[in-house]
């Protein structure tokens, strides 16, 4: 299979940084450059499987394949240093299994016991354990997806409420989760997002709440209370 690298839009791939990325450093082994964008923007001949996987990675806004870098420069030229040669295909399968296991554990825990105000929930420990795993960045991505999953609103709100009980880093990740949750057409998820903000008690969220236009009166009142509390606390 041939990939014409000159037709890949690298700027698109980098546009989401640094908000949303993780480094599958286990999966991707780096060796000799398989291409050099400076000198040869022509097509490369690689195996069909590798080509598919490279395409998957390059076209994914959630995956950063730069090695060992915690902060990613926004300059698209950084892609010119990309050395991608061998991809461990088992990585994707393992990651899928890990995600399924996390969803299953959370589902069982939340089915057995609802998240109740004023009471800690076993799902909080499951989230802690998942975040202590080696695949921490992927776990963040899965949790942010679960927290706004309108297909399972009850679980989404519960996950969000558990996340609200953890002051997880980075702050930018939490801001994005709250923004996404407030945009959802489900009052329980939006309510859980506001509760998370109240629980974290950080001024950075004031702006997010102020820019949210809420249609449900009681939730609107709650948002005003939380904004006032945040202001008072500073």
């Amino acid at each position: 299979m041939l990939i014409d690298y000159s037709k890949l839009d690298y700027s698109t791939n980098t546009s989401n940084y640094p908000e949303k990325f993780f480094i599958p450093d286990i999966a991707v082994e780096f060796g000799k450059p398989s291409h050099n964008l400076d000198n040869s923007r022509e097509s490369l001949a690689i195996s069909h499987l590798q080509a598919l996987l490279q395409m998957k990675i390059l076209n994914s806004s959630t995956i950063n394949i730069l090695p060992h870098q915690e902060t990613v420069p926004s300059d698209p030229k950084v892609w010119e240093d990309l050395y991608l040669l061998i991809i461990d295909t088992s990585y994707f399968e393992r990651e899928r299994r890990e995600k399924d296991q996390l969803v299953l554990k959370l589902g069982i825990s939340l089915d057995g016991e609802r998240v109740e105000d004023g009471i800690t929930h076993p799902a909080e420990k499951i989230i802690d354990d998942a975040l202590n795993s080696t695949n921490k960045r992927a776990v963040y991505t899965w949790l942010s997806e679960l927290a706004v999953d309108v297909g399972c609103p009850d679980m989404a709100a519960s996950v969000l409420r558990c996340l609200g009980r953890r002051k997880l880093e980075p702050l930018e990740w939490r801001v994005r989760v709250v923004k996404d949750a407030l945009a959802v057409d489900d009052v329980e998820i939006r309510d859980a997002a506001v509760q998370a903000v109240e629980s974290w008690g950080e001024m950075e969220f004031c702006n997010v709440l102020e820019h949210h236009s809420e249609v449900v009166p009681w939730l609107c009142n709650y948002i005003e209370d939380v904004i006032n509390d945040l202001r008072e606390s500073t």
Binding site: D117, R165, V187, D191, S199, L219
Partner: protein, 174 residues
């Protein structure tokens, strides 16, 4: 007199049922299974007088002090005379709360079966529609607990460690 209980308001807003595929006015099963968990066919309530804000706050205090973390609370209340008129059996029992002067303000609705529990759910739905519900923010709950401790209504040692840390200004999350 009224009977108050903690619920999760978002689950009881039947105006928003279309978001969950239910018709307006229907009671979500999640609300019933989540907020009306019975023990020995009884449901726990705290006595209060809804015309007095401090009385509702007392019910919130009893509930919050029995928890192990500080959160906002949704407190809904029902008229006990309406419940009696509907044939519900109400029984005074000691409540599980470290607020010693509120232990005796606890009532169980007893002998609940599937139909009666549904009837309670209906009462709660109407109560929420009629705004017989109060949301206390996390800060309000914190202030209630702090005041109760300073008044000697709760022994600090009887609160969970997390709540103790929060009200003594050391609130840290994991």
């Amino acid at each position: 007199m009224d009977l108050a209980r903690k619920i999760s308001r978002a689950k009881w807003d039947s105006n928003l049922n279309n978001e969950r595929g239910l018709a307006k006015g229907e009671i979500s099963a999640d609300a019933v299974t989540g907020d009306l968990r019975t023990q020995n066919n009884t449901l726990s309530f705290w006595q209060c007088n809804s015309s007095e804000n401090s009385s509702i706050e007392n019910a919130a205090l009893a509930i919050a002090a029995a928890g192990n973390r500080l959160d906002r609370l949704d407190i809904v209340w029902l008229s006990d005379s309406e419940l009696r008129n509907d044939g519900f059996a109400l029984k005074r029992t000691d409540g599980r709360t470290p607020v010693t002067d509120l232990v005796k303000s606890h009532v169980d609705i007893c002998n609940l079966d599937y139909v009666r529990l549904g009837n309670i759910a209906n009462h709660l739905k109407v109560a929420v529609q009629n705004e017989q519900i109060s949301r206390l923010s996390k800060n309000q709950v914190k202030r209630l607990l702090t005041l109760a401790v300073s008044q000697g209504r709760i022994a600090l040692k009887d609160l969970s460690e997390e709540i103790r840390n929060e009200i003594s200004g050391q609130g840290e999350q994991d």
